[in-house]
């Protein structure tokens, strides 16, 4: 029951443990010292990679572009340089027709840097759609409690696939923001069980927002990536409409419940207790995901 947990690794460690040994080549590496001029002006410590490590690597011998956000650094938030690296990587993926994998850990836009983060996220989404139009696979991995929120939450849903673990969270507004607007009665952000049962990886997998639920280990995440690296599909009006219909069905089915367990049950989980403790494929086996 011990070993290296994916959610406890740093961005660099994650990359090292996902990529084939020695295959990762970093673009704009730390010695180039491309750091945020805005944070420095505000007296906030800077980081040599501005919170995102990007480059190319191989997984199972197949070349990919690979990026990992650093959640500990200003919440993994997207500033100007961070955003430019992110956009550039997906543009390169489209240009070279090489699949692109993003290990997400971000609350969204870095507010200290004005709209540059917003613009970068919009441009990156455009690059993702370009990849998908060219059938270049795009994958987001969401595996930590920092999760994928705000603009990055939206961006993650633009990718072909999302891989999550039980630790990952996905949403647009964070729990505290929801509580602030809706009240503690509607959503208690201190209730960790509620937060994970509504935005955590298992629930997202049940609802079909995540395509794979992996164990919290680098090996399991790598296997999930390798399995999904083969296919991509263009975003079309038909696919968007179909998705919209799915969401309407979901709203009809669960829109009035305030018990997250009802959602689990509605998605085919019979033994809530056992499912709560299960992880990855074992959890998936306990549910018959209605998709």
């Amino acid at each position: 029951m011990s070993g290296v947990l994916f959610h406890e690794q740093t961005a660099r460690q994650r990359i090292a443990s996902l990529a084939d040994a020695g295959s990762f080549v970093e673009l704009l590496p730390p010695p180039e010292r491309i750091t945020s001029p805005y944070l420095a002006q505000l007296g906030i410590p800077v980081s040599f990679d501005d919170g995102i490590v990007i480059g190319h690597a191989k997984i199972g011998g197949k070349k990919i572009y690979l990026a990992a956000q650093v959640g500990q650094f200003v919440g993994g938030a997207v500033g100007e340089i961070h955003g430019a690296k992110l956009t550039g990587l997906f543009k390169a993926a489209a240009r070279d027709k090489v699949p692109c994998v993003l290990i997400i850990e971000s609350g969204g836009v870095r507010l200290h840097e004005g709209s540059s983060g917003e613009i970068a996220i919009a441009e990156t989404m455009r690059a993702i759609f370009e990849c998908r139009a060219l059938k270049v696979p795009t994958i987001a991995v969401i595996a930590t409690d920092i999760g994928a929120y705000g603009g990055i939450g939206i961006l993650s849903t633009c990718c072909d696939y999302r891989i999550m673990t039980e630790h990952g969270r996905l949403g647009i507004s964070g729990p505290i923001v929801i509580e602030k607007w809706m009240g503690k009665k509607a959503y208690d952000s201190a209730n960790r069980a509620l937060v994970w049962k509504t935005s955590g990886g298992k629930t997202k997998y049940l609802l079909g927002d995540a395509d794979a639920l992996a164990h919290d280990s680098p090996e399991a995440v790598r296997d999930a990536i390798a399995r999904l690296l083969t296919k991509s599909s263009a975003v079309s009006l038909a696919s968007v409409k179909a998705r919209q219909k799915d969401l309407e069905k979901r709203l009809k089915k669960f829109g009035t419940t305030d018990d997250p367990d009802a959602v689990w049950k509605g998605m085919g989980v019979r033994d809530i207790g056992a499912a709560s403790l299960a992880s990855g494929p074992e959890f998936a086996a306990l549910a018959k995901r209605g998709k």
């Binding site: 290296v4 947990l5 406890e8 069980a193 937060v195 955590g200 403790l277």
Partner: protein, 549 residues
Amino acid sequence: MITAKTALRRQNKAQRIERVGKLARGKFVSPDKVPEILRRIIEPGDILCLEGDNQKQADFLANQLATLENKDLRDIHLVMSCITLPAHIELFKKGMIKQVDFCYAGPQGGAVADLVKAKKFPVGAIHTYNELYARYYIDLTPRVALIAAAQADRKGNLFLAANTEETPAIVEPTAFSDGIVFAQVNEIVDKLPRIDIPADQVDLVVQAPYPMHLQALFTRDPAAITDVQVLMAMVALRGIYEKYEVQSLNHGVGFNTAAIELLLPTYGERLGLKGKICKYWMVNPLPTLIPAIESGWVESVFAVGGEVGMERYTAARSDVFFTGRDGSFHSNRAMGQLAGHYAIDMFIGASLQIDINGNSSTVSKNRITGFGGAPNMGCQPTGRRHPTKAWLKAGAEANPGPGSPPGRKLVVQMVETFQAGRVPTFVEELDATDPSIRKALHGVTPVMIYGDDVTHVVTEEGIANLAACRSIAERQAAIRAVAGYTPVGLKRKKRETEDLRARGIVQLPEDVGVRPSEASRSLLATQDIKGLVRWSNGLYDPPSQFVDW
């Protein structure tokens, strides 16, 4: 007016009970009558005992007491283990208390410091647990004791469930000296699972409108253990547990020792230490001990108290934990402290401040917390006669003189050189020596563990074996050597440190076979609370604030 002093005790008790009259039906009273009953049974000058330690609190009775005014209740000599509730502070603010004798003021440490400054806290002394319980039989025998139990039956027998804690230590001296025992219970039932306190030691019972306050105190989330703490744990395991073959021990509540517990089934197993160390424990049911228990390391655990969420697990593992004939967990604070005093090879704990002589304290100018039970265990019991391997080995190192015992208990302080916010742990002089604190305590500096009792100090820098030091100057040099980059540490002299290291008095991680680059959370048997639940086969029910599933 009749006072406690002029009347015979038994007669006096009868009069007090008579004054309750029709407010009670037999022993049983309704919650709304409690303030009036308290007013009638407590007299000016009384020694009043309020049950409450760092976990369990007779909070309903304390809250009712605090609704009274100075005209109802005054000149009270309050005796209690832990001042932890706002209601306790209220009694002082209302001027009811003429003297207080206690052990610990955890969450109210700041309020107590304020009361001391305002001269509204007439303290007799701050005690250790067993010291205070002992005085209940000598010069601090309660006239009235307000206690808490899980259940009462129709006769007034009490069931204390997992949190027996200090109830017997309060009830016995009170009941056997014609004092009044007043119990709040969570519920009244026809048949108790077992009887912990017999009805003839109980005078009054109230079913409280809310269950007694129970603090989850020993739940440490493995997710919060750092790599540095893992490093220290590895160093302690090799340099102390393995070296002395520590078989019986107590662990504090900190993350450092939680790291040790979680390393036993992994790193400890790899070192071949299973069956050689850590077999007999005097600790509360620590959730982080579950993996070691499930891996077969632990023979027995006796506890001073329970831990929220460990009820089903401890009942299922009655081969390890002490349980009643009903099958559920049993604890006893006074007996546990006694066991920790006499019957263990090692006490290991942490502290907020350690001075250059090895004295430690948790008192600062703005917080007066006190002691609790650590000093009962973190001291040399010179009344001990039975030998163990660890006791003799540590004793031999201390080079006993012709008039000293041949053995020593290992008393280990395990601290990081800095606390959160870069506050240095090591200081030239303790905050506790502040003149205003000493004055309030009648000249006594509130030292948690005395330097003379400490055998080892473990930090991320290494181990200082204080017991092996041959002079005060040497002990100070050994402490500076492991005090890292604190101001105390920066004063060390390279020469002295190298000499101490050559003699094995100071040991760096590499000297005990630990490579710091190896120290990683991934060595822990589990890295989060959910993992503990998995290890327990679903029998551990962690408190909700720790649950994210």
